[in-house]
């Protein structure tokens, strides 16, 4: 054994000693990705946990969303005078997408705070907790999407809606939303660990955004009415959530492809990841001190 007070000749290592480096930030994401068996298992565990000892278990996820969509769908279709046949799939898919996004944001704010015990006792990459969270939300999404399957069987798209090749865009659209869920969780997760007011603020903003995003109301229908209301409905496009909902909802209910939603979401994806990576680089090593 040798102890040294002066700097020893340090063996060539791949990771530089300094905490604030790009290689450590990227290394954290890579190492986290390699631990797929761990977060994959934990994600499933989280789902099963909530429904332990219940007879139909995680199927409750599907059922509760189905009930919510059906109840709201019947009510709002009647209020807005829309055919249930069109409105119910529109609403249900909107709710499914919203649940995923809201889950990533709300739980992202507490992703490190809640895992304090694990962070302080086991040297896992921070991204393990992020991947676990996004994976869990994706599993919820998978359960909820059964509602969509059922609705498509009962109410297949009618003209002008129709499934076609562009419906396959649902797959890259989901990928874009998942990618965004990850950067949001990293960014909000780190900031919220330092500033504990962030989780309640996030929760109230997300609730507000639900009503500001066309999920229970159809902004295109409002726009088509024209006049002052139609003009005001255009303002909804300033809400970035609208574009995320649209890139996935349109192909899932057989509506046509709109380029602008993709441009907006992809631009936000790039900017968001850039910001999240800078925050991860600078504050990754601080999280275990802050939790």
């Amino acid at each position: 054994m040798q102890y040294t007070d002066t700097a020893p000749e340090i063996a060539e290592g791949r990771v530089p000693a300094h905490s604030r480096s790009w290689s450590r930030a990227i290394g954290d994401l890579r190492a986290g990705w390699r631990q797929r068996p761990l977060w994959g298992h934990l994600g499933w565990q989280d789902i099963k946990q909530g429904y332990r000892r219940s007879v139909i278990g995680p199927l409750w996820i599907t059922i509760s969303l189905g009930i919510q969509a059906l109840g709201m769908g019947v009510l709002y279709a009647a209020l807005f005078g829309q055919p249930l046949h069109d409105f119910l799939p529109y609403l249900a898919v909107g709710l499914i997408i919203w649940q995923f996004m809201a889950g990533c944001i709300n739980e992202g704010a507490e992703v490190f705070i809640r895992n304090e015990g694990l962070i302080k006792h086991l040297p896992a990459p921070l991204s393990v907790h992020i991947f676990r969270l996004v994976w869990r939300q994706l599993l919820f999404f998978g359960h909820n999407v059964l509602v969509w399957v059922a609705l498509m069987l009962i109410f297949p798209p009618e003209a002008p809606r129709a499934f076609g090749w562009s419906s396959l865009l649902a797959i890259p659209a989901l990928a874009v939303i998942v990618l965004n869920g990850a950067w949001v969780a990293i960014l909000i997760g780190i900031v919220a660990t330092r500033y504990r007011d962030v989780p309640p603020v996030t929760a109230s903003v997300v609730t507000l955004m639900f009503f500001m995003t066309p999920i229970v109301w159809d902004y295109e229908q409002l726009r088509s009415k024209g006049g002052a209301v139609g003009e005001r409905a255009r303002l909804a496009e300033l809400n970035p959530f609208l574009h995320y909902v649209e890139i996935l909802r349109r192909p899932m209910i057989g509506e046509s492809f709109e380029l602008r939603h993709w441009v907006v979401t992809l631009a936000i994806t790039v900017v968001g990841w850039a910001v999240a990576l800078v925050v991860l680089r600078n504050y990754r090593a601080r999280v275990s001190y802050w939790v």
Partner: protein, 280 residues
């Protein structure tokens, strides 16, 4: 190559109280300074848990950490595991680290003993296949039998400790970091656990072990490191360091017969929820 290189490392904890750990305070603080009027002190008090730590560990090193409660032993173990990266100075850790600080962390009370074996193993860097292959052997060691298919919440504290020890001692770490407290269960089981613990230490490349039990330290370690108020007071041969720490003549310690070993610290009840890291 398995190695740990730490140079002039400091670990300093910011202590945010309810007032400073809020966005409002940070924002108002900035405004206050910009205005130059309102004296909002945004400085967060800092606890210097470790100061100017330099050490080099290589394959085969067996280090016993000695020091009073609060001297920084647990913090140093966390620094060596990579959980804390130094706030000043540098640390470089190469090798698969298995920290064993709190036997309960990573254990889920709602799932069965078998499932917990797998999850705990995954947390310690093993693969699912490796853990499944070892489940039988762990079951035999823990003597839990059919209980392993029951949820962990039905276990007594002692049974949980057995299970945790069974898993922890079945892994193949390159760097093994043990915190005190993995001591006593019931005495008959302890003998069995010690054999496994000794075997585990022999398998691992580097061992750093924090304990108040001289007997245990001498059994597992060859060199000693005395921490005092977050600084390295002395490092070198274990018996010499121990003797200086106790304020005794090294010769009196040579056989250890002259020194009455401290009773092994009883294991604190397992905190299945994950436990808060003690600063000690």
């Amino acid at each position: 190559m398995v190695s740990i290189d730490v140079r002039n490392a400091c670990v300093e904890f910011p202590i945010f109280d309810a007032k400073t750990r809020s966005l409002k305070k940070a924002l108002l603080g900035t405004v206050g300074r910009a205005g130059g009027k309102i004296g909002v002190d945004t400085k967060v008090p800092i606890i210097e848990a470790l100061q100017d730590i330099s050490l080099t560990l290589r394959d085969g090193d067996r280090v016993g950490l000695i020091g009073h409660n609060g001297a920084g032993k647990s913090t140093l173990l966390r620094l060596l595991s990579g959980i804390y990266e130094p706030t000043r100075g540098s640390s470089r850790i190469a090798g698969k680290v298995a920290p064993v600080f709190d036997l309960g962390v990573g254990m889920d009370p709602e799932i069965s003993g078998y499932e917990n074996i797998v999850i705990r193993g995954l947390f310690l860097g093993m693969t699912r296949k490796q853990m499944e292959a070892r489940a039988e052997e762990i079951a035999e060691f823990t003597e839990l039998g059919d209980y392993l298919s029951m949820p962990l919440r039905t276990y007594s504290t002692g049974m949980r400790v057995r299970l945790a020890l069974g898993v922890v001692t079945s892994i193949d770490p390159e760097i093994l970091l043990l915190d005190e407290g993995i001591g006593a269960v019931d005495s008959a089981f302890l003998e069995k656990a010690r054999d496994r613990l000794t075997a585990l230490v022999e398998r691992s490349g580097i061992l750093v072990f924090a304990s108040h039990s001289d007997e245990f330290l001498v059994e597992l370690c060859t060199s000693g490191l005395w921490l005092d108020h977050g600084e390295i007071r002395e490092q070198g041969d274990l018996r010499t360091v121990l003797a200086h720490y106790k304020g005794k003549d090294p010769a009196a310690l040579s056989g250890l017969s002259g020194v009455k070993a401290e009773p092994i610290t009883p294991l604190s009840p397992l905190n299945a929820a994950g436990g808060r890291g003690g600063g000690g």
